[in-house]
């Protein structure tokens, strides 16, 4: 009786997750299910991480390949923490999608990876025709990361803060 298995989420969340996974399979196909899940190891990230611009560009190049987003569409900007509102998830500028990263987020490759992954998933969803005003878009971005094999970074950096 002490080991009775039960689903660790309530019915509404279970139903939402099941429905959205069906949607992801239908819209993104099943190819990703046969590709390796990306792990935080040198095998998947064969470069030294330093909290600087060069490492950040390398990291985005690596993650965008895993996420299936053309890196030519992307740009990066590092913004200083002001303690005010966080920067937007993505800035559309001159035909490019600029991904803002706060300077304090560079201290930890896991943190910056999870932030970039959420932004890349957001782009994949917009490309698939999801309306950016959809109320479940932040959650769906994170579920998409799990579906496409990039969810470990997001799960390992869960904080009580709302996801960006």
């Amino acid at each position: 009786m002490f080991t009775k298995a039960r689903i660790p989420v309530d019915d509404a969340i279970r139903e939402w997750t099941d429905e959205r996974l069906d949607w992801l399979k239908e819209n993104f196909g099943s190819d990703s299910l046969s590709r390796p899940v990306v792990e935080p190891t040198e095998e998947f990230f064969p470069f030294n991480w330093q909290p600087d611009a060069e490492s950040l560009v390398n990291l985005l190049g690596t993650l965008s390949a895993y996420a299936g987003v053309d890196p030519e569409r992307l740009g990066l900007t590092v913004v200083e923490n002001t303690g005010a509102e966080p920067p937007p998830a993505i800035i559309k500028e001159g035909g490019k999608l600029i991904l803002p990263v706060e300077s304090s987020e560079l201290r930890d490759i896991n943190v910056v990876s999870s932030i970039l992954i959420r932004k890349l998933m957001f782009i994949r969803l917009l490309d698939a025709g999801v309306d950016e005003r959809e109320s479940d878009l932040p959650l769906l971005s994170e579920l998409t990361a799990v579906y496409l094999g990039l969810g470990i970074f997001c799960a390992n950096t869960v904080t009580p803060k709302a996801p960006r």
Binding site: P8, T17, L21, P40, L139, L143, A155
Partner: protein, 47 residues
């Protein structure tokens, strides 16, 4: 998503990938790994 949601989602995706004990689960923090294992058991039982 919170740790329980991640746990359930990982268990569902492992099921879709037809992996009963995936090696990649070793990289997941315990906060999400525990609900993942719990969900995997329940999904297997209810299959």
């Amino acid at each position: 998503m919170d740790f329980n949601m991640y746990g359930y989602a990982f268990a569902k995706v492992a099921q879709l990938r037809e992996e009963s004990k995936p090696a990649w689960q070793g990289h997941i923090r315990l906060n999400a790994l525990h609900p993942m294992k719990q969900a995997a058991k329940a999904l297997k039982k209810n299959k």
